[in-house]
Symmetry: C2
Subunit: 355 residues, 2 copies
Amino acid sequence: MPGENRDLSERKKLILKAIIDTHINMGEPVGSKYLTQYKQIAYSSATIRNEMAELEEMGYLEQPHTSAGRVPSQLGYRFYVDQLMQQYRLTSAEIGELNKLLKMKAAEVNRILDRATKLMSMLTNYTGVAVRRSPARQTVSRFDVMYVSPRSFILVMLTGSGAVKTRHIHLGFDVNRDVLEKLAVTLNDCVSGMEMEQITLPVILEMQQRLEGHESLINPIIKAVYETVNEPDEGELIFDGVNNLLNYPEFSDIDRVRDMLELFDNKEDLLDLLSGAEGDRTNVYIGSENEVEVMRSSSLIFRTVKSGGRTVGVIGVIGPRRMDYSKVVTMVDYLSGSIGHMMEADLIEGKKDDS
Amino acid sequence: MPGENRDLSERKKLILKAIIDTHINMGEPVGSKYLTQYKQIAYSSATIRNEMAELEEMGYLEQPHTSAGRVPSQLGYRFYVDQLMQQYRLTSAEIGELNKLLKMKAAEVNRILDRATKLMSMLTNYTGVAVRRSPARQTVSRFDVMYVSPRSFILVMLTGSGAVKTRHIHLGFDVNRDVLEKLAVTLNDCVSGMEMEQITLPVILEMQQRLEGHESLINPIIKAVYETVNEPDEGELIFDGVNNLLNYPEFSDIDRVRDMLELFDNKEDLLDLLSGAEGDRTNVYIGSENEVEVMRSSSLIFRTVKSGGRTVGVIGVIGPRRMDYSKVVTMVDYLSGSIGHMMEADLIEGKKDDS
DNA sequence: TTTAGCACTCTCGGGTGTCAAGTGCTAATC
DNA sequence: GATTAGCACTTGACACCCGAGAGTGCTAAA
């Protein structure tokens, strides 16, 4: 039964860590002889070979073929991420880039995530991904109505997380501007800030009463609100730097490239995957740990971005299974926190600048 | 001097067309012997060989190596597209799919282009692309203002092409709802429907007069309008089916894949390229005809989508240079026209449905 | 002008031999 | 008992060769 780590001796951990670190850097199977050059490992290659054989038996290492060195298995990476790897320290150049992003003026949700994605891809040399997302439980905090023509208007909704959504509404009858004005006031009075469950029949009846003579307006509106709030496939996928991955030897095999591209072609699946992020921690999916078969040779590190208690998006990095987990985790941590705080500040009070 | 086509005999045209048609289908260099099987070409392989040698001399054909058949050159494809290829007839299945798209309910710009892109990728087995775009000369046809906090509000603009844009505006001072209300009315009265050049000093002065006591509101607003109208990098790139291309043998070379991915990674460049579409005709870029070096092994067929005289986007298809030009051109033509008309109908008067 | 024939060129796939890396195992050593 | 040196073995990578097949250009004949 592979995977029991209680009896991993310190020496085994040392060797395992050295193998994984080396392999992450070099990208090639690492052999026993190579490890003897580390001064922390003061054993002969033969001893190391024995330990490696046992580590392989336990499931932490794999051998591509008899006469190659060892490569970490999925389980090995998992153990490494959970217990072995050490904290990465961002370089000052990296911190500089990140802070430049955070000081950006147009502090709107859209721009930030775009830019963060690009930045992650550049700083890590992997692929940056993000989801701009209406969280599962969205509310509308403010409504507005914009007249277009006698039979159509646009419903503008400011969501709890600060995004603006719009809907064209077409009617089978005419309405005038006064009615629309009243509609907006009514909506703001009756349903702003509510979750969908709170919009019950009494609330709807009250609205219809206030709009007497135009009750039939309410139904399409409620439907539009409902769709906006609950739309599960709502959420826009952003990614940048897919090309970076082609520079890693694991993607010199065309089939791997195919897998990877499939990942980015099935935007809905990737969206689902990212949306499944557990909150308040950085998620690390190694290879096929998650159910997505097509990811077997890549890993995904991601984290939700929260602002004012609400999930406003997800950011992450996709790379080969042999990824610099330490660095990427640190960076995703840092960015998700900072972006969240920033948007929070922006939402709560208008900043002091004039545009 | 290659390229003069005045002296292309009918027989040469026949042979050239046969070669290109065959190569588009088969994907491999085509030899003289193979062509003798066509009954329209009643010559021996030797004769065909002579003609092929001349066509190569003229620059329409290329030889990968001595003992291979001929392959169309970029110039050859160009001649084919301009003069040789025959009209493709959409199959009934294809027409069915396309009409299904066109009958879709949520007739909003966003959804249509997303779906059209996916559809093109599916029906052609190449990559569908689209740009959702505020045309270079955009106008704002209607304004609205949504109160957020004493020092910030959201400016909602309905553009001439039917898209909705929003801007958060932060202020250094407080304003109340009444002022914002007046602001919206003023904007609608004074600048709706105008091009930027028409918003001259007198217009601005009039607005400031109408908003007396709050003149300083005008500047940030004008700036926001200006940015919205003129924003050149505005325009969202959509694509679907990148993976399809990997199935073509020309992309079994990893370097070609790299080129292709680079194309999709540099979203701005691709956006520029697509935005350069000449109006009212379907543009065909073969290989490196356009300046983008990275496209040397692919082709791009695209066309603007116009609605009510305004450009609202671009749709197109990217495929290998050996593409089924005839089919793709037909499809892009059909789609761009239909989508345009549809959005037009939607804009001018709200349809008779109720949501 | 067309065609048959032929020598030539080039790619592709299979087969072979060599090299280097890395292993597992055994016996000697600390 | 743990460690290590030594050695035989396995395997992939690489270079090389060779024959088959496809397609060509050219020449001479029809």
